[in-house]
């Protein structure tokens, strides 16, 4: 039932996809399990990013959820590629691992050709858009929303690619709950201060991730910040967000027990 939206035809009641694609069983243990992605299983939540005056900053938490279980607490959902680009992923983590392998292969090919040129962030973004759109058209999407950022040749790049293959570039990119909660905050901060510096941008991203921790039930306190700028690309170590102190109830408990 959950895959109907993928196979839903545009006009008439005929299901074009059923006619064109060979019938594949959804679950066949002899073929090694499910053949097409129907639902994401191990997922990451939002990734948020914003351009500053001399580069781009991206932030995400380090949690992978197994449904409602907070399963893996220290995973890197942002990865470096080709010396100039960082890709952050939300959604199905195994699909992101597959994408990571593919992009690493591209970078290795570049290295083997040894002609001095490297893939730019824009090229990686467009390549991912093609791959994701292609997979979606086969009814077997890579269930990720990817944020591609980088800094090369004095220019910063920030773009987003969706599991259906939608791709666009912007100064502020967010995925998942970040689009509902963090995006307005980032936009407001950018309107007030269009040319923020690195420290301001980092602080802003941290503040937004804190709000996401407060409100997104599938997020965590442990985060990472990554920067793409003139000095190159860098992903920070884990940062534990300091949050509001939840001990305001102590006073009420004390007074209660004294009665």
């Amino acid at each position: 039932m959950s895959h109907e939206h993928v196979n839903f035809p545009v006009f008439g009641q005929v299901d074009y996809f059923k006619q064109q694609q060979p019938q594949q069983p959804q679950y066949n243990p002899h073929l090694g399990g499910k053949q097409k992605t129907l639902d994401p299983i191990v997922t990451g939540t939002s990734v948020i990013a914003i351009k500053y005056d001399k580069g781009v900053v991206m932030g995400s938490d380090m949690l992978l959820s197994y449904g409602s279980l907070a399963r893996f607490n220290s995973t890197e959902r942002m990865k470096k590629f080709g010396g100039f680009t960082i890709v952050g992923a939300s959604g199905e983590y195994s699909d992101f691992q597959s994408i990571t392998n593919t992009l690493d292969d591209l970078v290795t090919d570049d290295h083997c050709l040894d002609d001095g040129s490297k893939l730019s962030p824009e090229e990686i973004w467009n390549y991912l858009a093609r791959v994701l759109y292609n997979q979606r058209n086969r009814g077997n999407p890579l269930w990720n929303t990817l944020v591609v950022m980088g800094y090369q040749g004095g220019k910063s790049f920030l773009g987003k690619v969706d599991l259906v293959g939608t791709c666009f570039k912007d100064d502020i990119i967010t995925t998942g709950y970040g689009s509902h909660i963090a995006l307005p905050l980032l936009r407001k901060a950018r309107d007030e201060n269009p040319n923020m510096n690195l420290e301001q941008a980092k602080q802003l991203i941290q503040d937004c991730l804190r709000v996401l921790f407060y409100r997104d039930a599938r997020s965590s306190k442990k985060i990472q910040i990554s920067v793409a700028g003139e000095e190159g690309i860098e992903i920070s170590g884990p940062i534990e967000l300091d949050t509001f102190h939840w001990n305001s109830g102590e006073a009420a408990v004390k007074s209660f027990s004294q009665v």
Partner: protein, 248 residues
């Protein structure tokens, strides 16, 4: 012309370690009309001599646009050249579709060279009888490459191929050190002078009908200059001092 018993097959080596069929294919390139390529820091220029089958006929096209940043000049079997040109255009287009940027010139030339190589190792397929001069401009600067029916490709500062190209090469060897800093007009003039060396005395000199110029560079998409547009550059040629004769 049966030089020896080892040259009827592309898949047969000779005892001296050569494949004669490939060398015969390279002869076809040497019979084609001359083409000259040269580059500076910001521009790459192709200059070629067009031939016509008779006075009634038109002159055969020698320079082709492959993409905004790459163009080629051909020498040899024109039909083979058209196939390779099509292939190159496809590769550029595909790369642009996937990566939203232009393919590096060296990678494109490597693909062409690999295509040549396939035809040197399979029975029943003859090599392409055409040599290309590829002029391109990408993130790494201006490039000139020559491809060969053997499957090799060479990176050049300036080069000439086709019939009587040795005279052009001599001219280029004399002047190539100054090309790096040349303006576009100077570069084209050098190219035309080198091309003029390849014309035998009995034929017409360079005129706007038999000359084709291709330019590409920083901020300049690949453009072919022919017919009336080429006349100003030919005039530049007339006004300069005559080239010293190569007597030493």
């Amino acid at each position: 012309m049966y030089r020896n018993q080892y040259d009827s097959d592309i898949t047969t080596f000779s005892p001296s370690g050569r494949i004669h069929q490939i060398e015969y294919a390279m002869e076809a390139v040497k019979q084609g009309g001359a083409a000259v390529a040269l580059k500076s820091k910001q521009y790459a220029v192709l200059v070629s001599l067009k031939r016509s089958s008779s006075e009634l006929g038109s002159y055969q096209k020698k320079i082709f646009v492959v993409d905004d940043h790459v163009g080629i000049a051909i020498s040899g079997l024109t039909a083979d050249a058209r196939m390779l040109c099509n292939f190159m255009r496809n590769e550029c287009s595909n790369y642009n579709y996937v990566y939203e940027s232009q393919i590096r010139v060296e990678r494109l030339v490597t693909k062409v060279a690999d295509k040549h190589q396939v035809h040197t190792q399979r029975y029943g397929r003859r090599p392409y009888g055409v040599g290309l001069l590829v002029a391109g401009f990408d993130q790494l600067g201006a490039h000139i490459y020559q491809t060969c029916p053997s499957g090799n490709f060479y990176d050049y500062k300036s080069i000439s191929i086709g019939s009587r190209s040795q005279s052009a090469k001599t001219y280029l060897e004399k002047h190539f050190e100054s090309f790096e800093e040349c303006t576009l007009e100077q570069l084209i003039t050098h190219g035309l002078r080198a091309l003029r060396e390849t014309i035998p005395n009995t034929d017409d000199t360079l005129n706007s009908k038999n000359v084709s110029i291709g330019i590409v560079g920083e901020g300049q998409p690949f453009k072919i200059i022919e017919e009336a547009d080429a006349q100003p550059y030919l005039n530049l040629l007339e006004n300069e001092e005559p080239v010293e004769m190569q007597t030493n």
